[in-house]
């Protein structure tokens, strides 16, 4: 074993370059992979979030963000198979255009009609404080990311929406008291600011263009309706039924959303992990090259070892071990640098009031280590076979 380590230091530059090849591969794998893991966890959360209900939006606006009235929720409730139809509102926490790079829609003020949490399978747990009073006003629960972003704790107050950087005469802000902070979920609710439905309607009303503002009654507003089915009701069928029976709304079957999320997830993982694995395979080729050169340089030594009793498997094991160590060292360094890099970038983004970009999961670490070590071992096989097959007489007299 000691000899193998010393062999690695015989050609220091060459070994270092080979290790660097693996390091870069593993670094790529950890950073690209943790990028994919982060988005996957967001997407998983999205899948989880969207699977238990039908999202209903205003038909005219073609997507989220259109204006509905809460009357529509009553219409939807009449559709056969609907257990509950809860209007909700969503508006932006920031009034300035948010140009930061995010996987989600950014920080959102979320409010849902009272009494609807019981239908959702997506339960919040609190790191501190408690839920808002559904019928109250001026209370606020923050997701973990948003709480850290604004350095808020339970009992602090916070203005919603956040005032623009440039003075705007039309801006109206409201002070809220933070009554609870959510546990980290690694998904959408981390950037939620949850208020009571009445407050949500007010904030949503404020966010409307001034031309529209005078013509609407804020207490009737909603951005969407979350429809929960009765037990055993197929939500996709229910969505179609709502589209048929209620005018002016568009219900999106959950499977459509889930499928879209999952496709995005697979594509993203494929692109990032695939390119990283490619880098790692190239690193593996350089291990093969290095080990082949080492075999050529050590032909006489191999002959000597065979003369003093080394069998084929001894030589095989020695060379494969050496290649494996190269892989393991490169993997360890790559992982360490990758960990440091993702941590630093995440910390930088967080302190800059942006969401984290990387999620270095345990399974990713496992994958990176296994791949580096496995690739090293695999890369050692061809050179080791060449070494082990050397004829001792030829090898000993090799010049």
């Amino acid at each position: 074993m000691l000899e193998i380590l010393r062999n690695l230091t015989r050609r220091k530059l060459r070994t270092a370059l080979t290790v660097l090849g693996i390091t870069i591969g593993v670094l790529a794998l950890t950073t690209m992979g943790s990028l994919a893991e982060k988005s996957n966890s967001l997407i998983d959360g999205g899948v989880h979030y969207f699977r238990d209900h039908v999202s209903v939006a205003a038909a005219s606006n073609g997507g989220f963000g259109g204006i509905l009235t809460i009357d529509k929720a009553k219409d939807v409730l009449k559709v056969d198979g609907v257990q509950a139809a809860c209007a909700d509102t969503g508006s932006n926490v920031k009034t300035d255009l948010d140009l930061s790079f995010n996987f989600g829609p950014g920080d959102q003020v979320i409010a849902e009609q009272p009494g609807c949490q019981q239908y959702s399978t997506f339960k919040f747990s609190y790191a501190g404080g408690h839920a808002i009073d559904d019928y109250g006003s001026g209370q606020l629960v923050l997701g973990s990311d948003i709480a850290r972003e604004y350095k808020k704790k339970v009992g602090d107050s916070m203005e919603l929406p956040q005032p623009p950087k440039k003075f705007n005469p039309d801006f109206v802000g409201h002070q809220f008291t933070i009554v609870g902070i959510l546990e980290k979920t690694l998904t959408a609710p981390d950037s939620f600011a949850i208020v009571s439905f009445r407050d949500g309607q007010m904030l949503f009303g404020d966010s409307l263009p001034s031309a529209l503002k005078g013509h609407v009654d804020a207490t009737q507003l909603a951005t969407g309706i979350n429809v929960y089915g009765k037990p055993g009701v197929d939500l996709d069928t229910l969505a179609n039924r709502i589209n048929d029976q209620v005018a002016g709304v568009r219900a999106i079957p959950p499977s459509t959303l889930v499928k879209a999320f999952e496709t995005a997830s697979v594509v993203l993982t494929g692109i990032t992990t695939g390119s990283a694995l490619l880098a790692l395979v190239i690193g593996g080729l350089s291990v093969i090259n290095t080990m082949l050169m080492a075999v050529t340089e050590r032909v006489r030594e191999i002959g000597l070892k065979k003369a003093v009793g080394a069998r084929t498997r001894h030589i095989l094991v020695e060379f494969i071990t050496e290649a494996t160590i190269i892989g393991a060292i490169g993997g360890a360094i790559g992982l360490l640098v990758g960990w440091a890099l993702t941590t630093v970038v995440n910390a930088g983004l967080t302190s800059n009031n942006q969401a984290e970009l990387f999620l270095l999961t345990l399974r990713l670490v496992g994958l990176a280590v296994a791949f580096a070590v496995g690739l090293g071992a695999l890369a050692g096989v061809i050179p080791a076979l060449r070494a082990a097959r050397l004829d001792p007489v030829t090898a000993l007299r090799h010049q």
Binding site: R6, N7, L304, K305, A307, V308, G309, R311, T312, V393
Partner: protein
């Protein structure tokens, strides 16, 4: 200790269209504890003979019998085991591993034994003492003189308590004074430990210090004479 029988041993090579008869029907018996030198011009077949004795080569025909074991029947793995545990090698160019120090080089053959030898390290140290290199045991080969390196190699050849030690021009790389020291050291090992030695050399002075000199010519034994009485006089 080995009794070695060579029975009608031949080794033929194809070199282009020509058939080279490196060894052409050699029959010999080497008794236990003998110190034998093999001499002859280059191309006479002496190195081939040594490679066959050391089980590094397989003969074209004929047999090498070591202590009653017909090695023709052995596969590559068994030949390697027999090399490791019964035969020691000393080479012209020492062939020490550059990354290992003197003690580790002596201990190298222990690594490939089938069963771990708990006394291996003690024996390696004792042998380093016998070749007078205990104070150099943690030196790398690059820090040793030619004579010292070959003494390490002699100690290495003995570490598995072999029955037979083979030397391929063991004094070929050192000056004549060191040559004499080395041959005396090998003789000492041979006498004190009863190990059979067969060395190939072209140095007649070296050959003259052995018990028996076998001269090869064109792959055949040209002469085979005991030297015992004369040696003492030299």
């Amino acid at each position: 200790m080995a009794r070695i029988e060579l029975v009608d041993l031949t080794k033929h090579y194809k070199q282009g269209r020509n058939l080279v008869r490196a060894l052409d029907g050699v029959s010999l018996t080497i008794e236990r504890g003998e110190f034998v030198s093999v001499v002859g011009r280059s191309g006479s077949g002496k190195t081939t003979l040594l490679d066959l004795l050391g089980l590094l080569l397989k003969p074209t025909s004929g047999r090498v019998i070591i202590d009653g074991v017909d090695t023709a029947d052995l596969g590559d793995g068994d030949r390697a085991i027999m090399r490791g545990e019964r035969i020691g090698f000393i080479f012209q160019e020492f062939n020490l591993l550059p990354t290992l120090n003197a003690l580790e080089n002596v201990m190298l053959p222990l690594r490939y034994r089938r069963h771990r030898d708990p006394e291996g390290k003690a024996r390696a140290l004792e042998l380093l003492g016998a070749v007078d290199l205990l104070d150099r045991m943690d030196h790398k080969p690059s820090e040793l003189s030619g004579g010292q390196a070959q003494r390490v190699a002699i100690a290495r050849s003995m570490v598995n308590n072999p029955a037979l030690v083979l030397g391929d021009e063991p004094t070929g790389e050192v000056d004549s004074e060191t040559s004499m020291q080395l041959i005396d050291l090998m003789r000492k090992m041979n006498r004190e430990r009863g190990v059979t030695f067969v060395i190939v050399t072209h140095d007649m002075e070296i050959a003259g210090r052995t018990d028996r000199m076998i001269r090869l010519r064109d792959g055949r034994v040209a002469s085979d004479e005991p030297l015992g009485a004369q040696t003492a006089a030299v």
